[in-house]
Structure formats: structure tokens, C-alpha cells
């Protein structure tokens, strides 16, 4: 197990280097120049001389290999460079938004898991009954309705029925828990509904499969209580594919909530991503891609390790 973990951790390094090379050079192929967007994007009548000076100041006139080398060397020291738009450290720009995005992702995950596990389990246990049909209708709804649209419905309903909207600026949970939760519970619900639907359907189908396995029949034949059969033998195994989905969805939520963040005016990673792409802020895009890639790699590692916890048949050290 330890050897496996160390191997997986070491494999993260070439993966991340590959991502770094790809993102750096692919971005340079994209047409457009951040300096022009910055100085001429709003109709500014700025001379070419000023544009060139600014490019030089930002170091964009240097050879690509030099820029790449500096960036990689900086990352090795934990320095992701300076945003070319705001001229503040990339880490600072991301850190500010990461807190909010992480919290929404966590809240949505808790919301989704708390609902999905019982929903999926009962739907499987009471297959083809009204319980199953209700769960299936709710989950199909969750899969069909885009999160941002559900978010808009929530916002408009709050406005129409209560003439109230959640706070528009972010307050960290340690500063004012009530203000924080009243702001973030709505987007967490909006994205959590779809998330919950995905996980519930996964649990239902894998539980149905597991319930037909030989070892379940054996357990029942031995006279094990049905509750124990379901919770200890069936659900434990049925959760394995759901864990993968939960992990991937969680990582997706860190940077993929672009439209939902816009609907709720959240200052999250998704909005920052879109802004930096539209501005050609290469340094910031690179920093965020690396962050999200690292998250994916890390979450995958955790998922693989969790497999061992839930499924004793898996022996990573053999």
C-alpha cells in the first residue's frame, strides 16, 4: 500500500510537467495580445509605441523558451508568476477565489451525498415501486435541468416571493457564518441538485447489480439481517463507482461553475477562468490550469486509496 501510494505520488510529477508544457505552448498559439485588450479593448486610442513599451514591461518580447524556463523555475519554488492583467501574484488572485469555490464545492458535495445515498439505495431496494419512480423522476429532472437555469429559478423565486436576495459580496465563514451560509447555500443547492442526481442514479444501478451477486445470496442464506446485508455487504461495494463520480464532480465544481457563478455573482475560480481567457492573461490561465490539474490528480489518488478502504478485495501492494 505504501509503495503504491509513493508510486502514485511520484507519477503526479511527470503528469503535471506534461500539463505545464501543453498549456504554456498552446496558449501562445491563440491569437490575441493582452496588452491590446488592456489598452485598446475599450476603444482607447493608444499609440503603437505605448503598446510596445507595455509588452516589453510585461516581458512579452522575450523568447518563448526563456519565458517558459522562468515560469517552470518559479513554479518549482512555489511562485506562479504575476497576472499580466492585474499585475498581482497569480497565487494571490487564485487564493482569494479558491476559498469561495472550495466552499461551494464542499457544500454541494455534502448536499448531494446526503440526499443521493438514501435516494439511490431506496430506489434500488424498492425497485419498480412508487419510491423508485419518484426517485427516478427527481433524478432525471436533476440531469436535465442545467444548474445555472435552476440557479436563476432560485434567484427569481426569492425575489418574487420574498423580495429578498442573498448577499452579493462574499463574507468568509469565519467572519460571519450566517452571512456566508445565506449567500452560498443557494448556489450549492443549484449545482448540488444535478450532482445528487448523478450520484443517486449511479448508486441505484450499482446497488441493483450488487444485490444480484452470489455473496449477497450467500449472506441472506446464512440468515444475516436484511439491514446488515444491505449496509455491510451490498452498499459498501455499490459505493465504489459512486466514489469515483463524487471525486470527479467535486473537482469539476472547483473550476467549472462559470455560469452558476455569474448567476449568483460569485467571485469564484470559474469566473476568474473565463475573464483571464477573454483577456489572454496567460500567466493566470497557466496558474489555474495547473491548480485544477493538480486537484484532479490529487483527487484521483484519494479515490484510488478509498477503493482499498471500501473494498477489501483490492490489494494494491500485490
Amino acid at each position: 500500500m505504501l509503495r503504491y501510494t509513493v508510486n502514485r505520488v511520484l507519477l503526479m510529477i511527470p503528469t503535471l510537467i506534461g500539463v505545464a508544457v501543453l498549456v504554456f505552448f498552446l496558449l501562445r498559439v491563440v491569437p490575441g495580445d493582452i496588452v491590446e485588450v488592456k489598452l485598446r479593448g475599450d476603444g482607447g486610442n493608444v499609440s503603437q509605441e505605448v503598446i510596445e513599451q507595455e509588452r516589453k514591461r510585461l516581458g512579452l518580447d522575450r523568447p518563448l523558451v526563456t519565458q517558459f524556463g522562468e515560469w517552470m523555475f518559479g513554479m518549482a519554488k512555489g511562485d506562479f508568476g504575476i497576472s499580466m492583467w492585474t499585475e498581482r501574484p497569480v497565487i494571490e488572485e487564485i487564493k482569494l477565489r479558491l476559498e469561495l469555490s472550495l466552499q461551494v464545492a464542499l457544500m454541494a458535495t455534502i448536499f448531494a451525498v446526503l440526499l443521493a445515498v438514501p435516494m439511490g439505495t431506496f430506489a434500488a431496494l424498492f425497485r419498480d415501486t412508487w419510491i423508485d419512480y419518484t426517485v427516478r423522476i427527481l433524478t432525471i429532472g436533476g440531469l436535465s435541468i442545467p444548474s445555472f437555469w435552476f440557479g436563476m429559478l432560485i434567484m427569481l423565486s426569492l425575489l418574487a416571493f420574498f423580495n429578498w436576495l442573498p448577499p452579493i459580496t462574499f463574507t468568509p465563514i469565519y467572519v460571519d457564518p450566517w452571512a456566508n451560509l445565506t449567500q452560498l447555500v443557494w448556489p450549492a443547492m443549484a449545482v448540488g441538485y444535478r450532482y445528487c442526481a448523478v450520484v443517486a442514479r449511479m448508486i441505484r444501478s450499482s446497488l441493483l447489480e450488487v444485490l444480484n451477486e452470489d455473496y449477497i445470496r450467500t449472506a441472506r442464506a446464512k440468515g444475516v439481517y436484511e439491514k446488515l446485508v444491505v449496509s455491510r455487504h451490498a452498499l459498501r461495494n455499490a459505493l465504489l463507482p459512486a466514489i469515483t463520480v463524487i471525486g470527479l464532480e467535486f473537482t469539476f465544481l472547483i473550476g467549472g461553475l462559470v455560469v452558476t457563478e455569474q448567476v449568483f455573482n460569485l467571485n469564484g475560480i470559474g469566473q476568474l477562468f473565463v475573464q483571464s481567457v477573454s483577456r489572454n492573461d496567460f500567466m493566470l490561465i497557466q496558474g489555474m490550469v495547473m491548480l485544477i490539474a493538480a486537484f484532479y490528480v490529487f483527487v484521483n489518488l484519494i479515490i484510488d486509496l478509498l477503493y482499498a478502504v471500501f473494498d477489501p478485495r483490492i490489494r494494491y501492494d500485490t
Binding site: 491569437p31 479593448g41 499609440s47 507595455e54
Partner: protein
């Protein structure tokens, strides 16, 4: 001989005041029973974009002004109640020499920066030296506008004299520009780039915090040099990057205003939702969209083709339809319609592309295309990927040109690739835009200077006649003679059909009725200081 401030204004910006009747203001605010001013409170308002930095000298986006203006002062500024009249901000008085070769400003006494130091003429000098000759590492986006200044002298702590190399009829407008805020000389001496990240101004508010991606906050400047101002205790400018989020916030009362402008559809939605709680103010806008033909690409090197395409556009009819669904509205030439130096409608309709007899105009356009051998012309129209108003403008143009047998693809790109294509000259026809903050003709006409002088001329045409007329209007102090030069330039520009304004924008600003004292103007770059704003709650 020196002349008074009033006389100087009559010669230049004061001339605009004569034509105030022509301004297209359509305010709905009721001033009849002005309630008594109430002090205190916090104004939350929306800013639809976030400034990349705090330095207006190096910026061209309103986002920087809506962020930074409350913290700073300028030498002069526009009196928005009598726009485009100019009034003093830091300057208590000023004089222009009759030949416009010197401008002398007397500063208000005892003006304090946020850090407690007193403003002197040395601060103004340092500011303008930075603007006209930025040191290494500093961007001054309007550097060229100060090219006519020869020297800046400070005979005493409260007097500053600008001596000119050549007369420039637009100088007072430059001194009143909201971008040219005054910094402390000592800050600039320590680090000329400091204003990008540090705020130390003499404005009505002092800086409290900027939470990236969230908001900027300011509080009342207790040492503000204008007695009794500002009225508010504090304010928060909240970044709402999506129109839908901004409108929801406005409806829900989380913000009480957005000072840039909304579309007619957004206005109608909010009026329906909020009824008499909402104030709607409207004005013509100092923004326009321009159609530009790249003369380096065939067949747009042929004036007949360019002219035919302009003549096919029914601006008058288009104005009626587009103004219902977009921010486009007024038909005008190179200067904002309704402003004092604009070409009146009676003259405008005689120019190519502005005829009200669109049937006849299109027949002529077809003839011109036939003569040029381009009856089945096809091309790509480069446009920005912004819904308002670029998308409706692009669709409108495609349809207009279809009616003379021309096939056009409306290619909408994000700002970065759009600007990259335009810079490289890799386009045939483009939708360009002009973002002005006043009606100064020099500012508006710079766009049309020869490409060799101004690379932002998207037609890429070089025309010595236009350059000559531009220079003549710039140096002319007599208003009537200046008008004549502007008319001649416009005629040349439109006859050659290099580029032409499509329509001018219309500004609609929504505020809660509790927000008082804010002044509407034709530019969203003006009036962002908030010193006279108060809350009637």
C-alpha cells in the same frame, strides 16, 4: 494680454454651451420639488467591470474611473448640469492667453491628500510630466494629447503655467479630462508606477479596501476641500460582471444604481418589476459604432465599392428598429449628433450614406457596384463577440447589404482575436467603435487620421487632405472657422467612404429613487466622483 476664464471658455469649450439646446437629453428625473439633502449612509452601486489597476493615466476603461474617480481630483472638470461647460476642480481660476499659447491655473488653497500632505503646484506639475512624458515602466495612454505642451512652470506653490509649442483648441478639454487625475509628487518621486496599486488622492472619498473580484469601498474624506461635501458617509462599488446578476441586485435593492448604462430591454424589464421605485434617466451617448473598409484589400481599394456599401445602409429606418432592441439610436456624422459642433441633419442627409431616400440610394449603390464589376460581392464582416450592441449591429448590416445583392458573413470574435486581426490588417470590413468622453472634435476625429499617423484607423487609408483638415481644426480658435474645417473633413471622409459611423449609442441609467444628486451626462466616463450624491431614505 491675458483674458479671463469666461472669455477663454467662450473661445473654446464655451462655444459648446451656445449649442446646448441641441443636446439630446431626455431626463425623466423630477426636479420640481427637490427634497432637502440628507447626510450619511452608504451607497452600494454596481460596476459592470473590474479595473485592472487603479491608475486612470494608464487606462481607457470606465471601470477604472468608476473605481478611482471618487478618490481623486482633476485640474478642471465638466459641469454636468451645463455640459459641456467646464468648471474648476482643483483650479480656483484659470486663464488662457489670447493666442492659446499659455494656460495659467491658480490652485485652491489648503487642499489635502489622503495621507495629510498639502497639494501644491509641484504635484500638478509632476502629474502632467508623468502624463506627457511617462518614465520607464509607466503607461500614459493619452500621452499624445499633451504633445503640444512645451514647458510646465510653477512660479509659486499655488500657480502653474503650461506653455505651449503650438496652439491647441482642445487643451481645456484635456485639462478637464476625468482620466488626468492629480497625484502627489512625492509618491511619484518614490515610485512613478505607484498609482497603479496605491491610492492617495484629494477626492471626496478616501480608499478603504479593494477586494478583488468583489468590491471597492471608500469612506467620506473629512478633509475634502469642498465645504460640506460629500454627503455620503461611505460607498461600495460592487463588481457585477453579468447584466442579469446586476439587474437582480438592483431589483433586490442590493445595489441602488449602475452608472454606465443598460439596454432598452433591460430598462423595460426593470420598470415593469420595480415601477415607481425606479428612476430612469436617458441621454444620447458619446459612443458610436463605425463601419470601416480595409482599403488595402481588394475590392475595397475601389471607392465605388466602399461608397456603394455605405449608401445601402438605411440608418434612419435602422435607428427606429435598433433603438428598440439595442443601445444604438442616433444617426450622426463624426461628431455626436445634437452636440454643438455636430453636422446638422439638413446637411448630413446630403452626404453619402445618410440619404433619407433609401430606395434611390440603393439603386445608386447597385449602379456603383456594377461599374466596379462587383455585383456579386461577398465578404466577411469582422465584429466583436459582445451582445450589446455589436450582435444586432452585425445582423442589421448583413441584411442591409443583402438588399443590394451583397453576401456578408458576420464573424463575431472575442476581444483578443478581434483586436489581433485588426492589428494585422487581416480583414476586409470591420465594425469598429469609438469611445469618447466629451464632444471635443479633435478626440472624435483622431480615429480618421491617416493610418501612417494613427494605426488605429481601421480603413488603413492614408489621406493627406484629411490630415490637413484635422490639423487646421485643431489649431483654429474661431468656432465658425473650426466648424467649417470639421465639415470639410467629414465630407472628404464620407465621399471617400473609408469609414463611417453606423449609429450613435443611447445611454439609459437606472437608479433607485432614493439615490439623489447624481448627474446624468452623455458620457459614462464622467460624473463618477459621487461628491454630490446622497440617499433620501
Amino acid at each position: 494680454m491675458k483674458i479671463s476664464r469666461r472669455t477663454a471658455l467662450q473661445g473654446t469649450a464655451g462655444a459648446f454651451a451656445l449649442g446646448l439646446g441641441g443636446l439630446n437629453f431626455d431626463f425623466t428625473r423630477a426636479y420640481a420639488q427637490a427634497p432637502k439633502v440628507k447626510r450619511g449612509g452608504t451607497l452600494n452601486f454596481a460596476i459592470s467591470a473590474e479595473a485592472p489597476h487603479y491608475d486612470p493615466h494608464g487606462s481607457d476603461t470606465y471601470a477604472t474611473l468608476h473605481f478611482s474617480s471618487p478618490f481623486y481630483s482633476t485640474l478642471l472638470r465638466y459641469n454636468l448640469a451645463k455640459f459641456p461647460q467646464i468648471e474648476g476642480d482643483l483650479a480656483a481660476s484659470w486663464q488662457a492667453s489670447p493666442d492659446q499659447m499659455a494656460y495659467t491655473f491658480k490652485l485652491r488653497p489648503n487642499v489635502k491628500f489622503q495621507d495629510g500632505t498639502t497639494l501644491t503646484s509641484a504635484d500638478v506639475k509632476a502629474t502632467y510630466e508623468r502624463l506627457r512624458n511617462p518614465p520607464q515602466g509607466v503607461v500614459s495612454t493619452r500621452k499624445a494629447t499633451f504633445g503640444d505642451i512645451d514647458t510646465i512652470e510653477t512660479p509659486d506653490a499655488n500657480t502653474i503655467v503650461f506653455k505651449m509649442k503650438a496652439a491647441n483648441s482642445s487643451m481645456l478639454d484635456h485639462f478637464a479630462s476625468p482620466w488626468n487625475v492629480v497625484y502627489a509628487a512625492k509618491d511619484l518621486a518614490e515610485n512613478p508606477a505607484a498609482p497603479r496599486t496605491k491610492i492617495n488622492g484629494t477626492g471626496p472619498f478616501t480608499f478603504v479596501e479593494h477586494v478583488k473580484g468583489s468590491h471597492v469601498a471608500g469612506k467620506k474624506n473629512e478633509n475634502y476641500f469642498k465645504q460640506g461635501l460629500p454627503y455620503l458617509d461611505s460607498y461600495r462599488g460592487i463588481f457585477t460582471l453579468q447584466a442579469a446578476a446586476m439587474l437582480n441586485a438592483l431589483q433586490g435593492g442590493q445595489v441602488l444604481a449602475e452608472f454606465r448604462g443598460v439596454s432598452p430591454a433591460e430598462r423595460d424589464r426593470m420598470v415593469a418589476a420595480m415601477g415607481d421605485k425606479l428612476r430612469v434617466e436617458e441621454s444620447s451617448w458619446t459612443l458610436n459604432l463605425i463601419v470601416a473598409f480595409n482599403v488595402e484589400k481588394k475590392p475595397f481599394d475601389d471607392v465605388r465599392v466602399r461608397k456603394a456599401l455605405l449608401m445601402a445602409i438605411d440608418r434612419w429606418g435602422g435607428s427606429k428598429g435598433l433603438s428598440r432592441i439595442s443601445t444604438l439610436r442616433s444617426v450622426g456624422g463624426a461628431i455626436r449628433p445634437g452636440s454643438p459642433l455636430a453636422t446638422p441633419e439638413s446637411e448630413l442627409v446630403k452626404l453619402p450614406g445618410f440619404s433619407k431616400d433609401i430606395k434611390k440610394s440603393r439603386e445608386e449603390a447597385k449602379k456603383l457596384l456594377k461599374e466596379a464589376g462587383q455585383e456579386n460581392l461577398k465578404f466577411v464582416l469582422w465584429n466583436r463577440n459582445l451582445a450589446m450592441p455589436y450582435t444586432p449591429a452585425g445582423i442589421f448590416l448583413v441584411d442591409q447589404w443583402r438588399q443590394i445583392g451583397v453576401t456578408v458573413e458576420n464573424k463575431q470574435s472575442d476581444t483578443a482575436p478581434y483586436l489581433a486581426a485588426l492589428r494585422s490588417g487581416n480583414y476586409e470590413v470591420a465594425v469598429d467603435f469609438s469611445n469618447l468622453f466629451n464632444d471635443d472634435p479633435t478626440l472624435a476625429l483622431t480615429k480618421f487620421l491617416s493610418h501612417s499617423k494613427n494605426p488605429l484607423n481601421l480603413s488603413r487609408a492614408n489621406d493627406a487632405e484629411i490630415d490637413k483638415l484635422y490639423e487646421l481644426q485643431l489649431r483654429e480658435s474661431n468656432v465658425e472657422k473650426r466648424k467649417a474645417h470639421i465639415r470639410a473633413l467629414e465630407k472628404r471622409l464620407f465621399e471617400q467612404a473609408y469609414q463611417q459611423p453606423l449609429l450613435w449609442w443611447h445611454r439609459i441609467v437606472l437608479t433607485h429613487k432614493t439615490v439623489m444628486g447624481w448627474q446624468m451626462s452623455p458620457s459614462h466616463n464622467l460624473g463618477a466622483q459621487l461628491e454630490g450624491v446622497w440617499l433620501n431614505t
